[in-house]
């Protein structure tokens, strides 16, 4: 899959936890479409509508803290999120995102460089966030090694099938 994605930025704060990304009552489901309809329900009921055209989710520190529920990453992807850029990530969410083929990139200070609605282009392989609205580029450590290989295949399921 292409690891360069584009979309308008949706900006959220620090400590976005898995309970607000997808409440536990939906964990009996695994279908991205069903989960996507409830993504971020805990803080922004309008999220699925906002994300439906394909967006880049921008957030602060500790994105995805909480549960190991892979549905958090699936729900975001199912709602239309093409990549998540955050100041920092919780370990399990970060892994889950890569495993379901949702590009993630850790970018310090990202919320100062992006406003809601800015058009972003993200390349996790190059470690670049290009803000096309402002004409600026932020460079960070690119994704490397096994996580990059898994993401290139589209996720861990596809990666394992190819092993």
């Amino acid at each position: 899959m292409s690891l360069v994605v584009r979309g308008k930025a949706l900006v959220y704060g620090d400590k976005i936890d898995t309970d607000v990304i997808i409440p536990a009552k939906y964990l009996v489901y695994t279908d991205p479409k069903v989960l996507g309809e409830h993504a971020m329900e805990g803080i922004d009921p309008e999220f699925p509508k906002k994300a439906s055209q394909g967006v880049v989710l921008v957030a602060g520190k500790a994105f995805g803290i909480g549960s190991s529920r892979e549905q958090a990453a699936i729900a975001l992807k199912g709602a239309g999120v093409r990549a998540v850029i955050a100041e920092s990530f919780a370990r399990i969410f970060y892994r889950n995102a890569i495993n379901v083929g949702l590009p993630v990139l850790q970018v310090g200070g990202i919320r100062d460089a992006v406003a809601e609605g800015d058009e972003l282009e993200v390349s996790v392989e190059e470690g670049e966030v290009r803000n096309l609205t402002r004409g600026t580029t932020i460079r960070v450590n690119p994704l490397r090694g096994l996580p990059l290989e898994i993401l290139k295949k589209g996720g861990l399921l596809e990666y394992v099938r190819g092993v």
Binding site: D19, V28, A62, I65, G66, S68
Partner: protein, 415 residues
């Protein structure tokens, strides 16, 4: 060598550096009903074959068990079918012998010092209480692990914590966990493998399990208590076997250190809506409480029930009260010791073996505007099933005091 280094050396035949990506074959892998169906679905899409030894898999139905609705029942039928197909013997279904919350079952019956444990649940790290390196993973990671027989992880940096002195009355492992959360925040221990040294034997494995459990909320990669007399006694008591002695060497090097002096702690709470919003109980005294939950993989053990029963005994509940021992074993001990009678006489509802309202699954979801005091691990918005409920996390003494007063009070006044 640190305990972390010893554990990796045992697996890899060498000591890896922090930050290195390594592949390991774990000793135990666990999952439950609410992640199990997802694990099985992905594993079947991967071809369904499994290289990981089924004897090393532990499965317990705890999250939506007994199933509160049709869909929960369906995913359990699906997962149960898989368990039978691949002959997983370590399976704990509703009401089976030693049934309990997965992490409690692993702690009581399986985890040993020096092991590596992975589970499809973020609180798998509870097994760190006996000195196992334990981590939660997502469903696809666990499915791939079962298929390939191994998984990968980034080697964390060892950090030393010392828990010094004796715990004063009403101070528990929960207060230690909240103290650490208040100090480091929800991502403060990212990339660390904490090795905790305990000075007082009264800070036993049950206190330790609460701290290891909530290291998820601290972002720790693992949180292990250095095995000592209390660890070996616990394993002997629960399983009648001598645990292997796996301990760090005296010259172990740590990248960072933190000390907690138990005599200086006071009862703490985490106020809404994050576990690191930590305050002294005295700061929130008087807050009216609608519902109290005592239970979960964090605080559903015998000593937690004992603590709560000491306060509740002979008093009447002034808030709705739900008590859920973490396993059948804990429940039976609580029956024998009279705690269950104490709770039910006060007006509490008691069941056992399920996560219940902790994650908003069933058995007592709070309503809009309601205030809950819970001994569980998370107070995020919507955690217990309603986005407009406010959750305070506390130890079982504070929770029990809230039951009998109908508001948050300092439990030291009630002993």
């Amino acid at each position: 060598m640190s305990l972390t280094e010893k554990i990796f050396q045992r697996k890899l035949g060498r000591v890896p550096s922090p930050g290195e990506v390594v592949e390991v074959v774990p000793d135990i892998v666990g999952f439950h009903d609410l992640t199990g169906h997802h694990v099985v679905e992905v594993l079947e899409k991967m071809g369904g074959d499994m290289r990981f030894n089924p004897e090393s898999i532990v499965v317990s139905f705890d999250h939506l068990a007994p199933p509160p609705d049709k869909k929960a029942a369906e995913v359990q039928v699906y997962t149960r079918g898989f368990v039978r197909k691949v002959s997983i013997r370590n399976f704990y279904d509703v009401g089976s012998v030693d049934w309990g919350i997965l992490h409690q079952v692993i702690l009581e019956k399986y985890a040993l010092p020096g092991q590596i444990v992975f589970g499809a649940d973020s609180h798998t790290n509870t097994a760190g209480a006996v000195g196992a390196f334990a981590q939660g993973l997502g469903a696809t990671d666990i499915a791939a692990l079962l298929k390939l027989g191994r998984t990968w992880l980034v080697v964390p940096s060892p950090m030393r914590m010392r828990i010094l002195g004796n715990p004063p009355p009403t101070i528990t492992g929960k207060d230690v966990a909240l103290d650490i959360l208040g100090h480091f925040g929800v991502d403060g221990l990212n990339g660390y493998s904490v090795e905790a040294y305990v000075e007082s034997p009264t800070f036993d494995v049950e206190h330790r399990a609460t701290v290891s459990n909530m290291s998820t909320e601290m972002g720790a990669d693992a949180f292990m208590f250095v095995p000592d007399r209390a660890t070996y006694d616990y394993v002997k008591l629960m399983r009648g076997v001598d645990a292997p002695r796996v301990e760090p060497e005296p010259n172990a090097k740590y990248v960072d250190e933190y000390d907690i002096e138990l005599p200086r702690l006071e009862p703490l709470v985490a106020a809404p809506y994050t576990p690191d919003n930590v305050k002294a109980v005295t700061e929130v005294e008087g807050t009216e409480v609608d519902m109290v939950f005592i239970g979960s993989c964090t605080n559903g053990r015998l000593s937690d029930l004992e603590a709560a029963a000491r306060i509740v005994k002979g008093r009447r509940a002034r808030a709705r009260c739900i008590v859920i021992p973490a396993s059948h074993r804990v429940f039976q001990e609580a029956l024998r010791l009279g705690y269950v009678e104490t709770f039910t006489s006060a007006g509490c509802v008691v069941t056992y073996g399920t996560c219940g309202p902790c994650l908003g699954g069933h058995f007592g979801i709070p309503g809009p505007g309601e205030v809950v005091v819970s001994t569980s691990n998370r107070n995020f918005r919507g955690r217990m099933g309603h986005v407009d409920a406010k959750i305070y996390l506390s130890n079982p003494y504070v929770a029990a005091a809230s039951i009998v007063e109908g508001k948050i009070v300092d439990p030291r006044h009630l002993l």
